[in-house]
Symmetry: C2
Subunit: 478 residues, 2 copies
């Protein structure tokens, strides 16, 4: 049993050093490997398979709302990036520039896309003429590049995978509706698939996207009490349309500007799953997200009939879940540790004695609960346990978040909360960016969002004491 | 009916100008839009949906052979690209170089991947230690960039989408086996899904991949008699393993080099589908590839009950095929022309008289054949017609290829064939690269492959008259 010790001892405990625990998990669960390119990571099969699950679930949901996929070039000429003033100011400092093609210097340098608003706008200005051409509901799955100084796997990398939706509409109302629709879709996906509850709300002007009229966000709380912005949906109004001349002839024969949105989710979500559900044995994947939901581990597999029985169970269970057998020549203890490190939701142990008793032992990854089950009932029992586990994980995450959400009425309470109570802080705000800046300077906490579900905690701004306009979620964030 | 005329007249006839016909189809079928970036195209929804079909079919087949997906960085540091001598000589002249990140000049410039052998080798050298770590069967779906002087949509673009498989094996035999396995998988996919018959064979040394020991290829014949290399599979032997130090400890405790392969298919396949199956009304998609297989076109749709019946048919047919209703306010003639331009395999026309007679008219895109069918039988009849159409398309393509394959024994026959008989030329070759070069200089035809299915056409090289070693397919190529 030396093998499993080696695997387990290599992880730093999250109570000792949460950041190191995180790094250990992403490496030991073989989600990523560092590459020789600054700030870029390699997604290994176990990591990429999670992204494929996210992709297929989101893509299905997008298409149900009429979204179509496209693919845009990875390069943006400098002159195109420069067309929308706020946008270029936000992104130019962090793009990678291509200056040479082969041995020739380019007449105009191009950046590797940090996001593709400018490309979609350029396209829409060419293909939208009439109200009949609207709405355009396009999305693309691709990688983007932002030159980051400090990087962390999944959370902040120079290159990352994402989807970016870009829509164009006839009216402002329709654009706003789509912006909120996609935010709701994101939140629903996170709760139902990732088992992560989200706070939905609007970003303050200071925190909104470069070039947007309004940015909406979903915010999650990690195990260490830090917030993670998990998805954003932007309403651009007609700002980009004016910069890129996206006009259409309406039914009344008048020429009008289109109204646009964009919305995106990234591989960062995998970081959220790790930091919300993981424990000191490694990753814990919610069943609906797990590429492998059940690992069958044969015990004393050299005994006659054990491997055969394991294969038989796999063939039966593959009708109701995503299942594998670990029939390698490692020890059972090593296999257990490996399955736990990789976060596979259920383990089914089957050995000679179990076979004799016509039973198997199911072990839940999240609670370690052992359930002895008749072999004949596995096919009905396992999907039930997976469902219960999915719900339990969401509930535990919700409970953790609620227990780590503090209300602050006075600035002293606020500062005390930032210092001593890791988590979200709910506090009133006057709407002045100066208070937002002061809070950040004093405490390092930032405004996460102005939640859709508002409460009146007091009638005064927590910072300046003037009249409060809105309740804000604050917190230290990744 | 002005609308449909406008749509149809805009296409150049393929007999008049095949290249212009091709360009017209890709634009009018809305597969692509040109972008403001040199040589890069935008894949619009109709074009990207075809790529999604290709992706999901290939991905399923890859996974059935044990392949796992990963994602590697899009950048390659210059020093890494330089590690394998032949490889860098092949690719360095055509890569895009990133020299600046944000406002800073990079210490070492990086290229945007033209292909990822070097990155996979770097990874394998880190994660392969023991024979237990082999084989590694990785694949990635991504875009790559090759700086091209002249470009054509799908066939040759600066950036294109593809998959690249990269495997590492313990033995040379296993690597060769995987190389051939993937080539066969490709050919099978092309024949069964794209309805394009392939010639399988080995590339000559002159035409093989930069750094490969052997390159295998599948070659198809386009409607204009030109060849298209449609997929390649490379055996690297241990050349890259030696350059990148990919070693493993074998069961006998000896340190050995791994043996590697790579194989790829690209969006170029969409170009092949257009040029093999298209006609003067536009695209013709084989049913198994078509994102929409059946378009229901209501006739006199303002009459009571017509749209309802069309919706009812859609709901019934969606159980057995991918079906849509065109209920826009365009004229039926315009809808017909549009459906034909987009290559949707079947059209179902349903109007008041049809409803009265409890029937509908099915029109095949490839043959224009009209089939009157009882509404009650549509559900069984349509899948049958789709299957027949799929097979007919493959057979027609095979017949076209066979009719456009000429055997040349003398050099005069060869030159006459290149000039007057567009298509493949089968001819014997001595194996000397000088003859290959001379043929290319004299005729512009290149060696496409040395087919697995060899024939002895004569005992002399078609070019120099010396002893022939092998039969080669030659042709002008895209």
């Amino acid at each position: 049993m030396a093998g499993d010790k080696k695997l387990v001892e290599a992880i730093t405990s999250m109570e000792v050093d949460f950041a190191q625990w995180y790094t250990d998990v992403v490496k030991k669960a073989e989600l990523i490997e560092y590459s020789s390119i600054k700030g870029c990571m390699i997604l290994r099969p176990a990591g990429y398979a999670i992204w494929e699950m996210i992709q297929s679930e989101l893509d299905k949901r997008f298409k149900e709302t009429g979204v179509e996929n496209v693919y845009m070039p990875m390069f943006i000429p400098e002159s195109l990036l420069n067309k929308e003033k706020d946008h270029v100011e936000g992104f130019a400092p962090e793009v990678a520039w291509v200056t040479h093609g082969g041995s020739e210097k380019l007449a105009e340098r191009m950046c590797v896309r940090p996001t593709s608003e400018t490309l979609f706008c350029d396209l829409y200005s060419n293909i939208v003429q009439s109200y009949r051409d609207l709405p355009k509901l396009y999305n693309q799955w691709c990688s983007v590049c932002r030159w980051e100084k400090t990087t962390r796997p999944f959370l902040r990398t120079t290159e990352f995978l994402w989807q970016e939706g870009h829509t164009a509409h006839a009216t402002a109302e329709e654009a706003e509706e789509r912006t909120i629709q996609m935010l709701n879709l994101y939140a629903d996906f996170c709760e139902n698939v990732l088992a992560i509850p989200m706070i939905k709300g609007k970003k303050t002007d200071k925190e909104k996207f470069a070039g947007a009229k309004a940015t909406y966000t979903i915010e999650a709380l990690m195990h260490d009490g830090k917030a993670l912005q998990s998805g954003t949906s932007h309403n651009f109004g007609d700002g980009f349309a004016k910069a890129f001349d996206i006009t259409y002839t309406d039914k009344d024969n008048k020429l009008k500007y289109a109204h646009q949105t964009s919305w995106g989710m990234t591989t960062r979500l995998i970081g959220a799953v790790i930091m919300v559900h993981g424990d000191n044995s490694g990753l814990v994947l919610p069943p609906r997200l797990a590429p492998t939901q059940v690992m069958i581990v044969p015990i004393m597999q050299k005994k006659e009939g054990v491997l055969e029985k394991a294969a038989e169970l796999k063939s039966v269970l593959s009708k109701v879940c995503r299942v594998k057998v670990d029939d390698t020549d490692k020890s059972p203890g090593f296999k257990f540790a490996e399955q736990e490190m990789r976060g596979i939701p259920l383990r089914v142990e089957i050995g000679p004695k179990d076979i004799e008793a016509n039973q198997a032992v199911i072990v839940r990854r999240d609670t370690r609960e052992k359930i002895t089950c008749s072999i004949d009932e596995l096919e009905t029992k396992i999907p039930e346990i997976l469902e219960v586990m999915q719900n339990d994980m969401l509930e535990r995450a919700r409970q953790h978040r609620d227990e780590h959400t503090t209300t602050a009425v006075t600035y002293d309470e606020f500062k005390d909360a930032v210092e001593n109570k890791p988590g979200f802080i709910k506090a009133m705000w006057c709407g002045d960016v100066e208070c937002e800046k002061k809070i950040k300077e004093d405490t390092t906490a930032t405004s996460r969002c102005m939640p859709f579900e508002q409460e009146t905690l007091s009638d005064k701004c927590v910072c300046c004491g003037r009249e409060a306009k809105t309740m804000v979620y604050w917190g230290k964030a990744y």
